[in-house]
């Protein structure tokens, strides 16, 4: 009996990591499957291409992780990212601003939108779902008021960011956006695990009232996470502009779903309080590798991506429920 309890106790910390490990296993499995079926899949560049193609989603999903860790949700990320690409394209192409002035302005705009939504959510106690929904409408509407047509960007700084490869040797390369995205991940990881603010984010997600009674700065934390999410969405938008060298008012539609799916597959629990930013990276990679597999297959049509993501979402959410139930 004692042996059993001891064994259970030694297993307990691992249970926390179970969803993350499941995502990792899925990723490795999908990669192995691809490598066996398609010889070209096994090259490291395929993995790096996933990073290149999903750098903006990674940044946006990191922002969404902060919000979801506090038990909130941010539906505005896709629209804010689109707004930030539209605003930067407009300022660069039509107003003639230099790139080093445009990027800070655009990032500040995203952070401001997130900040305002955070204020409304916390101080007026309206559900995050509905506030960020309004934010989503607002940002998308602003996109259209900037322009209803897509704008192409030919600013030298932006084209340089889009086209300069960073070679890693052995014929492998990544884009500057990937470096930026990984820096964002590193900062987020540091903030969440090694700062007081990070601990407060987890505490608020675990139980807002308890956090408040413990004397933690709940208001500041809640407003901050939405500001961070807005900032990350805006940065994701800038990376998207680097990636496509154009801005489309209808761009990034549905990105909020991809971001939430990546966060969930990465093992962050949607009620808040538990999850890892590195899990989110795995989640984005899983989404990316599914898309790559479907592209490699060639016979499967693109809509299978959505169905597979839906099925994965279900499996991982069910897994979360199972773990939560057993933990109780």
């Amino acid at each position: 009996m004692t042996a059993l309890t001891v064994r259970l106790r030694t297993y307990r910390p691992q249970r926390r990591y179970l969803p993350v490990l499941a995502a990792l296993a899925l990723l490795v499995g999908a990669y192995g499957f691809g490598a066996v079926r398609y010889p070209a899949f096994g090259s490291g560049q395929v993995v790096l291409d996933i990073f290149i193609d999903h750098a903006f989603l990674l940044v946006v999903a990191v922002g969404a992780t902060f919000v979801i860790l506090t038990g909130g949700i941010d539906l505005s990320v896709g629209s804010v990212a689109a707004l930030s690409t539209m605003a930067s394209a407009d300022l660069l192409q039509h107003k003639g601003w230099p790139a080093y002035a445009v990027i800070p302005v655009v990032l500040a705009l995203g952070a401001l939108l997130g900040f305002l939504m955070g204020l409304v959510i916390h101080y007026f106690e309206i559900q995050p779902f509905i506030v960020t929904l309004a934010g989503m409408f607002l940002a998308r509407g602003l996109c259209y008021t900037i322009s209803t047509e897509s704008i192409s960007i030919d600013n030298p700084t932006y084209t340089a960011m889009a086209q300069t490869p960073i070679t890693l040797g052995a014929g492998l390369h990544v884009s500057p956006s990937v470096v930026i995205a990984l820096v964002v991940v590193a900062i987020a990881w540091y903030v969440l695990h090694f700062t007081r603010f990070g601990r407060t984010v987890y505490a608020v997600g675990g139980g807002e009232r308890s956090a408040l009674l413990m004397g933690l700065k709940v208001a500041r934390t809640k407003v901050s996470v939405y500001t961070i999410s807005g900032l990350c969405s805006a940065l994701g938008g800038v990376l998207m502009a680097f990636y496509t060298l154009s801005a489309d008012p209808l761009g990034a539609v549905g990105m909020e779903l991809d971001a939430i799916a990546a966060v969930v597959i990465g093992g962050t629990i949607l009620t808040g309080g538990s999850g890892y930013v590195l899990g989110t990276v795995l989640g984005v990679l899983v989404l990316g590798i599914i898309q790559t597999l479907i592209t490699f297959d060639g016979t499967l049509s693109s809509w299978w991506t959505r169905i597979v993501i839906g099925v994965l979402l279900f499996v991982f959410i069910a897994l979360q429920r199972l773990i939560a139930r057993r933990a109780r």
């Binding site: 409304v120 106690e125 309004a134 607002l138």
Partner: protein, 354 residues
């Protein structure tokens, strides 16, 4: 309410503004009057080809899918839930109906479409009531996968239909009124009848108010919640038939895009709180008509249609702020605090003015 006004005249106006449907109805009337001022012919309704024709009729006709979905959504929200998958269900229903119409009769096609919607609703309900997954997340799964499913059914094509009776669902008229509006009203009337003339509505409100307490007092909360999701998917399925009949085809990508947000908006405008408990089907219908009027206004006045989203953002924010108890409390506090200095300052102002 009218009896109240008659017996208690002094408090009549206050009671009127406190009525749940007052603010949504007032907003709708204000918007319609605004239209009337800008274009005097806005209210003009004439008879053409044996049916009524005009902007108002257009609002009723184009608003009917939204009314249907919002009615289903109201019941879901009353149980503290939310159904994000309705847009995807709209797409699936249209896809099945249009594909089946190619080989079978219209009744079988509609039956297959609605049957699949019932299955999808049962799936949502099982996730929420059975597995106890948060409603936003549970229905998110179908929201993501549903459009893929719709495209799978249509083979990624836009399937067009020429079947006369099917096109009549959206384009037909009965007793000079659009058939689609009559369908929406029939569903609304039936739902209110069932919900308000039986104990069902009360049970729903109790489940929404406190699911655990309701369960302990002997209600089968789980089954009620499950039923709401099935009903919501069914409503979305009927709306999907109307939408695909209106555009004479099924488009897995764009059919019912964003309609879940409009439906939630309609429910919230109608005075049903997202926190569950009390709900108002009549308010929802008014809310849906308000949103449709907004869209029609934008077209009728020649405002660039992209401004609709900005409009909606402002409307959602204002409505939510007004509904938020915290916001009201803060507003009242701010108004009360400067009361004493304001009273003292008032005579001075009058002197200056005179």
């Amino acid at each position: 309410m009218i009896r109240n006004l008659a017996t208690d005249r002094g408090r009549g106006p206050a009671a009127l503004t406190k009525h749940r449907l007052f603010w949504p109805a007032a907003a709708l009337i204000a918007l319609l009057l605004g239209n009337l001022i800008v274009s005097p012919r806005f209210f003009a309704v004439e008879i053409r080809d044996g049916h009524l024709y005009g902007n108002l009729i257009d609002i009723l006709r184009n608003g009917s899918p939204l009314i249907l979905i919002a009615v289903g959504m109201t019941l879901v929200i009353a149980t503290r839930g939310i159904d994000l998958s309705v847009g995807a269900v709209v797409a699936v229903s249209g896809a099945v109906a249009c594909v089946e119409l190619g080989s079978t009769s219209i009744l079988l096609a509609i039956g297959a479409a609605l049957g699949l919607c019932l299955v999808l609703g049962a799936w949502n309900g099982w996730l929420v009531a059975g597995l106890k997954i948060q409603p936003i997340v549970a229905t998110l799964i179908l929201m993501v996968a549903g459009r893929g499913l719709a495209q799978l059914i249509t083979g990624g094509q836009i399937v067009t239909v020429q079947n006369g009776p099917f096109l009549a669902i959206a384009g037909g008229y009965l007793l000079t009124l659009p058939l689609s509006f009559l369908i929406a009203m029939a569903v609304y009337a039936l739902t209110s009848l069932v919900v308000r003339r039986s104990a069902l509505g009360l049970l729903l409100e109790s489940v929404g108010g406190n699911p655990e307490a309701s369960r302990l007092s002997g209600l089968r909360s789980g089954r009620l919640i499950w039923l709401c999701y099935v009903f919501s998917a069914l409503c979305a399925g009927v709306a999907g038939l109307i939408i695909s009949s209106n555009v004479t085809g099924a488009d897995g990508n764009n059919a019912g895009l964003w309609i879940e947000l409009d439906a939630i908006l309609a429910v919230v405008i109608g005075g049903t709180q997202l926190t569950g408990g009390r709900f108002s089907l009549g308010g929802t219908v008014i809310g849906a008509l308000l949103i449709q009027t907004l869209t029609t206004t934008v077209y009728a006045l020649g405002i660039p249609s992209q401004e609709t989203l900005l409009f909606k953002a402002v409307v959602v924010t204002v409505v939510c702020l007004v509904q938020s108890p915290a916001f009201r409390a803060k507003l009242v506090k701010r108004r009360r605090r400067p009361e004493s200095p304001a009273v003292a300052a008032q005579p001075e102002k009058v002197e200056v003015a005179s």
